[in-house]
């Protein structure tokens, strides 16, 4: 609206200049008569008035057209003009304020897009971008110092640049894509469409996605409360990428006692996930089932429990005389999270305590070439406390057997300190100790490392599920 006011002001200004210039141009000093000048002035005044009326009329027509176009009411008497502010005590009434809709929105039609507001700030270029998805980039820079002979990482690296694109597709679905650029390649971390308008309370996701297996497997790197992933994830559930595959996910809230939230999820994937699952044939799909139980213990405290199961083929039979179909991996997980966040001081203090347990049953060949199933167990326990608006302190304990040799158990713990300059950047330091099995030297070795991380967010990155 401001633009129109400026436009009107410009027209009037131009007219005024014109009115001033014209007589000067046509002036003949020799034949100047006061009476003729008066008549001309009057004519000009009339012209100004008539033009002003026309501008007002056009302005009215324009807003009427815009209202009709948007199908939504617009507060016409207060359109972002400071001058239109009402005097104290004069609230607009239904009749005097055309702000109030004259015609109701058409029933059962989607709400029209917000023409009215977006026009007011960015101009044409902004409008051209209206239908673009929300685009974001999260840079994850990691540095490592210290000693680790078992799984050494680079001293400095831009570990990941995650580009997120998120948009509503149509009245029935939305889509989210997260493309991860590493230093050595590109990976579609997730790219799925979610159907939000299904009957019977069903939520369907189709595409490539992180499987609903436990908690840490669902969390993107930048949203983790630590720099690395727990040992149990590395040893049993596919490491950084985890169970992340192309497939279909169906979930629904299940009937539960009052104030309990129970959700069941069933997923079927192609069967290729890091080193956990390998699909040798089209039929070798992997499946994931997840049950989540949640309850508020008060307005500040809640408990979140989960049980997960996953099953798929592994790569142990490939290149052997055995039938690769026989080699399956069954994974089980249980998670429990306790959260505390006082509502009045939510941005200053919070506490989270999470435990996750994993069991892996992997079919493979023993060194003596005998078919066997390795049963390995892993867990991590993580606590984090937000001490104030900028600082979070945390710790994690890890213990995990190895999927291929359950008798080798790695242990570790970490201390983590995070600083938040703002919501859109984060600086984190982590001391990590590990008592790890060194395959090359066939002995346990100690790893002492210091990791540091800089995270930065560009653009609009949509919130992740709780």
């Amino acid at each position: 609206m401001k633009r129109y006011s400026v436009l009107i002001a410009l027209i009037l200004f131009a007219f005024a200049s014109y009115a001033q210039d014209k007589p000067a141009a046509s002036q003949d000093p020799g034949k100047q008569e006061p009476r003729a000048e008066e008549t001309r002035m009057k004519a000009l005044e009339d012209q100004v008035r008539s033009l002003a009326e026309q501008v007002a009329l056009l302005r009215g027509e324009l807003s009427a057209l815009r209202d009709a176009k948007s199908g939504e009411p617009r507060p016409a008497d207060h359109l972002l003009l400071a001058s239109s502010h009402l005097e104290p005590g004069t609230l607009p009434t239904a009749t005097s304020a055309p702000a109030l809709p004259a015609t109701p929105e058409p029933a059962l039609s989607p709400t029209p897009p917000q023409y009215a507001q977006t026009q007011t700030y960015g101009g044409a270029t902004s409008n051209a971008k209206l239908l673009n998805p929300d685009i974001s980039l999260i840079g994850d820079f990691i540095g490592t110092a210290g000693r680790n002979t078992v799984s050494p990482s680079r001293s400095l690296e831009l570990h990941e640049s995650e580009v997120g694109m998120q948009a509503i597709i149509d009245p029935y679905a939305r889509a989210d894509a997260f493309i991860s650029f590493g230093e050595t390649g590109v990976n579609v971390e997730e790219g799925y469409v979610t159907f939000t308008a299904l009957p019977a309370g069903l939520l369907l996701k189709v595409g490539k996605m992180r499987a609903e297996f436990g908690k840490v497997n669902t969390i993107h790197n930048h949203a983790l409360p630590f720099i690395d992933r727990p040992l149990a994830t590395d040893n049993l559930v596919g490491g950084e990428d985890g169970i992340d595959d192309a497939g279909i996910s169906l979930s629904r809230f299940l009937p539960a006692p009052k104030n309990w939230f129970v959700q069941g999820t069933a997923q079927v994937f192609r069967g290729d996930s890091s080193n956990v699952f390998t699909a040798n044939r089209r039929q070798d799909a992997s499946v994931v089932g997840h049950l989540r139980i949640y309850r508020d213990l008060g307005e500040s405290t809640n408990i979140d429990l989960g049980a997960s199961y996953s099953r798929g083929h592994n790569n142990a039979g490939i290149g052997t005389t055995f039938d690769p179909e026989r080699f399956l991996t069954n994974l089980y997980a249980a998670d429990a999270t306790l959260r505390w966040k006082p509502l009045r001081r939510a941005i200053y203090h919070s506490f989270l305590f999470r435990n996750e347990f994993f069991w892996s049953a992997r079919d493979q060949l023993s060194p003596a070439n005998v078919f066997e199933t390795q049963h390995a167990f892993g867990l991590y326990s993580d606590a984090e406390y937000r001490a104030n608006r900028r600082w979070t302190i945390g710790g994690r304990f890890d213990r995990s057997g190895r999927a291929t040799n359950a008798s080798l158990t790695d242990t570790g713990f970490s201390g983590i300190l995070t600083y938040w300059p703002s919501e859109f950047s984060q600086i984190r330091g982590q001391y990590r100790y590990g008592h790890l099995w060194d395959i090359t030297n066939a002995r346990f070795t100690n790893a002492n490392e210091f990791l540091f991380q800089f995270l930065f967010v560009m653009g609009a990155h949509g919130a992740h599920p709780f």
């Binding site: 972002l80 239904a94 702000a99 929105e105 309370g201 307005e299 941005i347 709780f466």
Partner: protein, 315 residues
């Protein structure tokens, strides 16, 4: 063979889940009331004013909670799942928590753009709409304008009108009832506004400092002049340098009142008040911020009383 078993088991699981879905109807709600969920308590209060006993209204955020940072708890999903109408503040105030709740609610009625999704900002007069280039160097700016617009009774009335139209469209049989309640609300808010303006008249033009940019609509309506903020930029915690500058500004301009929202720490505001001989006043930006603020009228009653008291004490 094992694969065949695996597939058939999975199909059985899906079938069982679908059957379970089909056989469990949503919990019954009494008297066929229109179920309204709102993002904040102020919108809930306005919806209740218009909907009366024909609606059931509940807010996701509490009145004493920072509406920028609400946790998207699954317990809200249960409420959103059965809502007929979702009223949001909009202008990206809830961008950090509401979108995943809406997506996961499995409720087609309240998805963005559906008839049960109502963005109240489209009915209100919005201030501080940035022009030109917008970057986060300015902090957590809202590119569509300041979302704290409900703190102006005129906007309250406009939103109420929007709600009236929306729920009348959803329940045409009750349209007359809603219209009558709106008329009543309009009359009462006009009277109350005259009273509030009269109460605030002696303080017209007074300069104040606020913690966050929550009060532009309030300040404009009641003719206050917000000259500074405790936050150096929206969403950025106070820094020592900015605090020193703020103290200098307050001393220079003779500003004595620092208004703070209930969800911000009082340490810095108190320190500033000590240095400037000013007073910190905790104003409630939302209904339910204190127990006695039970409706939209009491919100202004409370804030105006607190402000008057602070102005009088710092004369």
């Amino acid at each position: 063979m094992r694969n065949a078993n695996l597939c058939s088991r999975f199909i059985a699981l899906i079938a069982a889940l679908t059957l379970l879905c089909a056989t469990c109807p949503p919990p019954a709600h009494g008297e066929n009331k229109l179920r309204i969920m709102t993002a904040t308590t102020d919108l809930a209060a306005l919806a209740q004013e218009i909907g009366g006993d024909k609606v059931e209204v509940e807010s996701v955020a509490r009145g004493y909670q920072d509406p920028h940072f609400v946790e998207a708890k699954p317990s809200f999903l249960l409420k959103l799942q059965h809502a007929d109408l979702l009223i949001v503040v909009g202008l990206e105030l809830e961008i950090g928590w509401l979108p995943p709740l809406i997506t996961q609610s499995t409720n087609p009625k309240i998805q963005v753009g559906a008839p049960g999704y109502f963005d109240a900002s489209r009915y209100a007069r919005i201030l501080e709409i940035p022009t030109g280039v917008v970057t986060r160097a300015e902090g957590d700016v809202h590119p569509l304008g300041n979302p704290h617009y409900w703190l102006d009774p005129e906007n309250g009335l406009r939103i109420a009108k929007g709600i009236q139209n929306k729920i009348s469209e959803m329940r045409p049989n009750d349209a007359a009832y809603f219209a009558q309640r709106y008329d009543n609300f309009e009359q009462r808010i006009k009277q109350a506004d005259e009273k509030w303006l009269a109460e605030m008249k002696p303080y017209a033009g007074r300069k104040i400092v606020t913690y966050h940019r929550s009060w532009p609509n309030f300040a404009e309506h009641f003719h206050l002049d917000v000259v500074g903020y405790v936050e150096p930029r929206p969403g950025i915690p106070p820094s020592p340098q900015h605090t020193v500058e703020l103290i200098g500004l307050m001393k220079r301009d003779g500003v004595k009142v620092i208004a703070v929202e209930p969800y911000f720490d009082l340490k810095t505001p108190n320190a500033v008040a000590r240095d400037t001989g000013g007073k910190v006043v905790v104003l409630m930006p939302s209904v339910g911020g204190e127990k006695e603020i039970t409706d939209y009228f009491k919100l202004f009653d409370y804030d105006i009383a607190k402000l008057k008291q602070a102005f009088d004490e710092t004369k």
